[in-house]
């Protein structure tokens, strides 16, 4: 067991959108879609980041600059050293040939792009629904669009690209009146803002489609001992038993879509 951060040197920096920056670094351990690493900026802070890609040698993380750590990380340059622990958490899984609907929002697009990239190699087909405020905030769009056996459905609040409305509304519309085409999906995967994932969880449950949902909570250790990322009422740690969970488990999490906890363990409504 090594739960010390390894020092890694950044080999590539990509500005994806005005908000999102991708960092690439060589890393000795391999990660699967849905897993996360703990990223440390010495002297600043350490936070969980989803693995946006693993090419067998290097790992990519895609960071939305929203606060202290994420801004510090977004300013990193090629050659800078950061610390990384992990990977941690459960993986997105699929069966060969599955017909998958993916619903992404925010930085959730990165791990789902990685999942789609791997799933199509297993003969899966993917309908990729991607929501954002405007066309400017659709990172990875170009990469998702060119994946084989993948259809990309952008959705924007202002209608500046693709469907006008949410990704979930776009998906529901795609399934047609009375969800006539729902049976075309074997599996749903979602990663993004919790209220969006809650809507996905509800629709998938109603239609009886198996779904995998990424439940993210405030994390400190990443390996299931500090207990900051637990959920009510099951009390399980999402860093270890999640973040990717079967919708059946997610349905038992009474707080899902309602609240989460801050770094002091106090409830905060979404």
């Amino acid at each position: 067991m090594n739960l010390f951060p390894s020092s890694v040197r950044i080999t590539k920096v990509n500005k994806e959108t005005p908000l999102v920056t991708s960092l690439v670094f060589e890393y000795p351990e391999r990660a699967a879609p849905g897993q996360f690493v703990m990223v440390w900026v010495p002297g600043v802070d350490e936070k969980p980041m989803s693995v946006a890609f693993d090419d067998g040698k290097s790992i990519t993380v895609s960071v939305a600059a929203v606060g202290t750590l994420s801004k510090a990380l977004s300013e990193k340059k090629v050659g800078d050293v950061i610390g990384v622990r992990g990977p941690f958490g459960q993986k997105f899984t699929w069966k060969k040939g599955d017909r998958i609907a993916m619903l992404a929002g925010g930085y959730g697009v990165a791990p789902l792009y990685f999942a789609a990239h791997e799933a199509v190699k297993d003969g899966c087909t993917v309908d990729f629904f991607h929501g954002a405020r405007t066309h400017e905030y659709l990172p990875f769009a170009d990469r998702v669009e060119v994946l084989m056996n993948t259809t990309y459905y952008p959705a924007t609040d202002d209608g500046s690209r693709g469907f006008k409305g949410t990704s979930v509304a776009c998906w529901v519309e795609k399934m047609g009146d009375d969800y006539a085409e729902a049976q075309k999906y074997d599996l749903v995967m979602t990663c993004g803002p919790e209220r969006m994932m809650k809507a996905v969880s509800d629709v998938a449950f109603e239609l009886g489609i198996k779904a995998l949902v990424s439940v993210e909570r405030y994390m400190k250790c990443g390996f299931g001992i500090c207990g900051n990322c637990v959920v009510d009422d099951s009390g399980i740690t999402t860093c270890k038993k999640g973040t990717v969970m079967d919708n059946e488990e997610v349905r038992k999490i009474a707080e899902f879509g309602v609240y989460h906890r801050d770094s002091l363990g106090k409830k905060v409504n979404w």
């Binding site: 067991m1 002297g43 500090c226 009510d232 009422d233 906890r261 363990g265």
Partner: protein, 331 residues
Amino acid sequence: MTDLSVKFCGVQFDNPLVNASGILGITGASLANVGRNGAGGVTTKSLWLSEHVGHKSPVIIANDYYMLNAVGLPDGGLEKAQSEINHFIELRREFLKDFKAGSNDAVGKNAQARKRKYLPLIANIVAGKVEDFENIAREIACLEPDIIEVNISCPNVESELGKPFACVAADAATVTRHVKKVVGNIPVTVKLSPNVEDIVSIARAVVDAGADALTLINTAGPGMAINIETRMPILTNRVGGLSGAALKPLAIKIIHDVHRALPNIPIIGTGGVLSGQDALEMMIAGATLVGIGTGIALRGVEIFDLALREMADWCEENGVEKVSDVIGTVK
């Protein structure tokens, strides 16, 4: 079938294993989950009277030999404690009902087979001033935990709070007296630090001040680990308390010494317990209950179930019918 139950300060525990404070103890649901995984009792994270902000991450690093932590005792304060403890008590009611009905949702093969009578709650409290220890103790006592554990020994908040109370016999005794005064007949265990010259004299001072039991030990140090490429201490707090495998021999020795000096005072032993054998070693040294913290990082929350199996197997192989018979039997 080995009888794994023990009695601690008059409270019946189905088995001697509890989670150490600060591990999986932030919410009521988390504590109930520790119980479902087999623990005989559960311990809250240290509870403060008011909100207390912890340190910036990284706060926990570990390898196979030891862990360093500087979580910094973050907590939401009294209102949160009240709501989480009440939630725990509600969930415990369901949990015990399920066990009686035989359709319990205990996880793990062994936990499933194990009958549960009760799941005692140990509320761990902390404060920076003597008056605040008294105030938080009074408030927490109203919630009727089975035991109150007084944390006077956290080494990673020294920069903020100064030397822990557990490092000076007179201070440790003062805190104990103030807590005992306001908690009625709820048993009080005081958690001591290994970072002292003469642990027995401190143990004696808190027992003379009214402590019903002792928790031995909190983390050692603090220690430091430096990342050599960046030459930065890895913990943002620079230093952190040492726990895990490396702590066990210190814990065993302290429990042994204190138990010899104060044989009638029950002990919760914590420090580097990773298996049923480790827990037995601690009991033989003198512990009645055994706390597991860092071990959860190595074996998951399932460690309770696994260690209980290991304890039961050992007892069977060694002709021990009641695990409580091994307490303090070191030769």
